[in-house]
């Protein structure tokens, strides 16, 4: 059947084209219909290779479906559906088109069966998503988008070089387990790592995501990093290095999140923290750990989307997003408050919410495989994520001191999108078996034993107690209007400053050298001129009047001569 050979991204790309040409309710209807139709189709797609072609000497597989890619395919459809509903009120063609193309690119990337196709969608992800940042139409957003684009494209270029090395080493471009045994392996690892926001390469995320539009950030949070997680899960499962990188990713962002004022930037930091759990799972590489990583990616797309949606609603309704400007919004935005708290409970992994059923798999896997210290770090990160995403976000936005803002709940489409996400968070939390049945491995894992539930509740409640205690003692860092330096300072300040200073020195030296040379030259010139003074030669500075008389005579003679000829 022809539908079978149609990769899932094509419908979204066609949808993008239609969205560019239509407007109003028609566009809204088409945009909502596309993920629904595409998802219904994807549900029927069996595992296997559905499209294959030969390019030069290489077998390309643009459409390959297995449990791993199908899992990401499903959640990307859910994310696209929710964020399209969330952005139905937006009347900005650029954003609507970018949303469709961006979702399509993400789907293209997870169903890519070879590295060349992956590279194409890898770059498309960058080029389509950057418009969601630029659509904010501020100078900040423009610059942040530029930095985002440069880093993303760089990641793609490294991926392409890695893929070429890989092709010459193995003679094939197929996208399977790669491992870190060769140069190609390392290059591709670095390319994935940049998109996955590994430490020191994470600043594109915390820099650009908070600058995007309220609706754009929801989309951004769903796709780019999860595509990278998928790619790592396929190419580097069981790579021990990933365990340490992932553990670092879970821990360092929580410190930044605690002192950050922009609440969407707080969420961006906690996004890195959550991706860290997935990376640890991939690094451990056992069936339980990989399952945990994928399930957590699935849940994270939904609950992080929900949190970004609730903060987007706050930004949309009040025009503010800094913790120092907000507070007391529960009074007039009660629905948003409740939905945000559901998202906060999910990301904090409270029992009966979705985060709990997936995060605990990674934690159990870490313990089972003897990563004791990593387990302690993950435990600390779990407490930390509750602290900044679970408490700080709802507390400073909706409670804390009364900011005097009296914004009402957002438009109905935004509330509905958040409601869908919140329902999914609770549904998965209560009935995880549905999620587990989609996972690649059957591990028979049960998150709801008394040990787990009690341990997690104790951890979370006492983290909350710490928050209360610190707040009562006035030790909790207040929300301040500020910029906190991160690694991006290196390329936004340090390198430009050093370059500016180096070039200032170079220009100075250059100017001095030119002046010196020019001075010498004019000295030479005047010296030569003085030597030839009065001789009337080519190099003399002045000419004797006798010369002039001679030339006048020559001119007159030639006139006379011409007169005779004429």
């Amino acid at each position: 059947m022809w539908m079978l050979e149609l990769p899932p991204f094509t419908l979204f790309f066609i949808g993008g084209l239609i969205a560019a040409m239509t407007s109003g309710k028609l566009r809204g209807a088409i945009m909502v219909a596309i993920p629904v139709i595409s998802a219904m189709h994807l549900w029927t797609v069996p595992e296997g290779i559905h499209l294959q072609l030969t390019f030069l000497d290489y077998e390309l597989v643009p459409y390959r479906a297995d449990k791993l890619s199908l899992m990401f395919g499903y959640v990307f459809h859910i994310a696209a559906f929710i964020s399209i509903i969330y952005s139905l009120h937006v009347k900005d063609t650029v954003q609507q088109v970018a949303a469709m193309l961006y979702a399509g690119s993400a789907l293209g990337a997870v169903f890519a069966g070879d590295l060349l196709t992956l590279f194409v969608f890898w770059e498309l992800l960058a080029f389509t998503s950057v418009f969601l940042i630029w659509a904010r139409r501020t100078s900040r957003a423009y610059h942040a988008g530029m930095r985002y684009l440069i880093i993303q494209v760089l990641s793609g270029v490294i991926l392409l070089v890695g893929a070429l090395f890989y092709a010459s080493e193995t003679g094939s471009l197929s996208f399977e387990y790669i491992g870190l045994d060769s140069i190609a392996g390392w290059l591709i690892f670095i390319a994935f790592g940049i998109k996955c926001a590994f430490p020191f390469a994470h600043t594109w995320l915390t820099d650009a995501y908070p600058e995007a539009t309220p609706t754009g950030t929801v989309l951004l949070s769903a796709f780019t990093t999860k595509v990278a997680v998928y790619a790592l899960a396929r190419a580097y499962p069981g790579t021990e290095l990933l365990v340490y990188i992932g553990a670092a990713m879970t821990c360092f962002p929580i410190f930044f999140a605690v002192i950050e004022n922009d609440l969407r930037r707080v969420l961006a930091y906690s996004l890195i923290n959550q991706v860290g759990f997935m990376v640890v799972g991939i690094g451990i590489g056992t069936a339980l750990a990989i399952n945990g990583a994928i399930a957590h990616a699935f849940n994270d797309v939904i609950f992080k989307g929900l949190l970004f949606m609730s903060m987007g609603a706050v930004l949309h309704m009040t025009g503010r997003i800094n913790g120092s400007d907000l507070g007391g919004l529960y009074k007039t935005m009660p629905k948003t408050t409740i939905l945000c708290i559901v998202g906060a409970a999910s990301i904090s992994a409270f029992p009966l919410f979705s985060g709990f059923v997936s995060k605990s798999m990674v934690m159990s896997a870490a313990l089972e495989n003897g990563f004791d210290w990593i387990w302690l770090m993950l435990l600390f990160a779990s407490a930390g994520v509750f602290h900044h995403a679970g408490i700080k976000i709802p507390y400073f936005a909706f409670f804390a001191h009364d900011s005097g803002l009296r914004a009402s709940d957002p438009p109905r489409n935004m509330l509905f999108a958040m409601f869908i996400a919140a329902s999914l968070c609770v549904a998965i939390g209560i009935y995880p078996a549905a999620l587990y049945s989609l996972l690649p491995y059957d591990t028979g894992y049960n998150p709801y034993d008394a040990t787990h539930v009690l341990a997690q509740t104790q951890l979370l409640l006492f983290s909350a107690l710490a928050f209360v205690w610190l707040n009562l003692r006035n030790m909790y860092p207040p929300e301040l209007r500020s910029t906190n330096l991160d690694v991006d300072w290196i390329y936004r300040r340090a390198i430009p400053n050093v370059l500016a200073k180096v070039f200032a020195v170079i220009w100075q030296a250059d100017g001095a050298m030119r002046n010196a040379v020019r001075g010498k030259l004019s000295q030479c010139q005047s010296f030569i001129a003085s030597k030839h003074k009065g001789l009337g030669g080519l190099l003399s500075g002045s000419y004797p009047s006798g010369n002039m008389v001679l030339w006048v005579a020559v001119l007159l003679a030639s006139y006379l001569f011409l007169g005779f000829i004429g």
């Binding site: 900040r140 610059h143 929580i254 410190f255 930044f256 605690v258 002192i259 120092s324 507070g327 529960y330 009074k331 313990l367 089972e368 004791d372 387990w375 435990l379 600390f380 407490a383 930390g384 602290h387 409670f399 804390a400 001191h401 009296r406 034993d449 008394a450 040990t451 009690l454 341990a455 997690q456 509740t457 104790q458 951890l459 979370l460 409640l461 006492f462 983290s463 107690l465 710490a466 209360v468 610190l470 707040n471 006035n474 030790m475 909790y476 860092p477 207040p478 929300e479 301040l480 209007r481 500020s482 910029t483 906190n484 330096l485 991160d486 936004r492 300040r493 430009p496 400053n497 500016a500």
Partner: protein
């Protein structure tokens, strides 16, 4: 005019409306429930027979203590990080005038920090 007046009155009423946490009693009530939950889970720790995967879990009340201390350490370190990471809000804004940015902004950041602290403390109520 009448309609306007009525609307204004309505708005005033809205402003004066007592919301849930405006009443300190309600806040206290919620906090007491929370403290009770905390006590309950610690008591349950000794009642429920848990399987232990790791020797540290055998310590009495390991998770509560770890969660509490972890968060306090987190906040203390984060506060300390502010002393050298915090700059003024528009630190990166004029990216074109780089040369004057380094020193001036560092000073500004330091000044703002002290100023903001005063404001910030007002902003936070427990």
């Amino acid at each position: 005019m009448d309609i306007n007046k009525k609307e204004k009155e309505k708005e005033k009423e809205k402003d004066n409306k007592q919301y849930f946490f405006d009443n300190p009693k309600n806040t206290k009530w919620v906090m007491n429930i929370f403290y009770a939950c905390c006590v309950l889970v610690v008591v349950l720790d000794f009642v429920i027979n848990r399987h232990v995967y790791h020797s540290w879990e055998n310590l009495p009340a390991f998770y509560p203590i770890y969660g509490f201390i972890g968060c306090v350490v987190l906040v203390v370190i984060a506060r300390w990080m502010r002393t050298f990471l915090m700059r003024s809000e528009d630190y990166y804004d004029d990216e074109n005038s780089l040369e004057k940015a380094t020193d001036e902004n560092a000073h500004q950041g330091a000044n703002n920090q002290t100023e903001n602290k005063k404001i910030g403390d007002h902003n936070v109520d427990a």
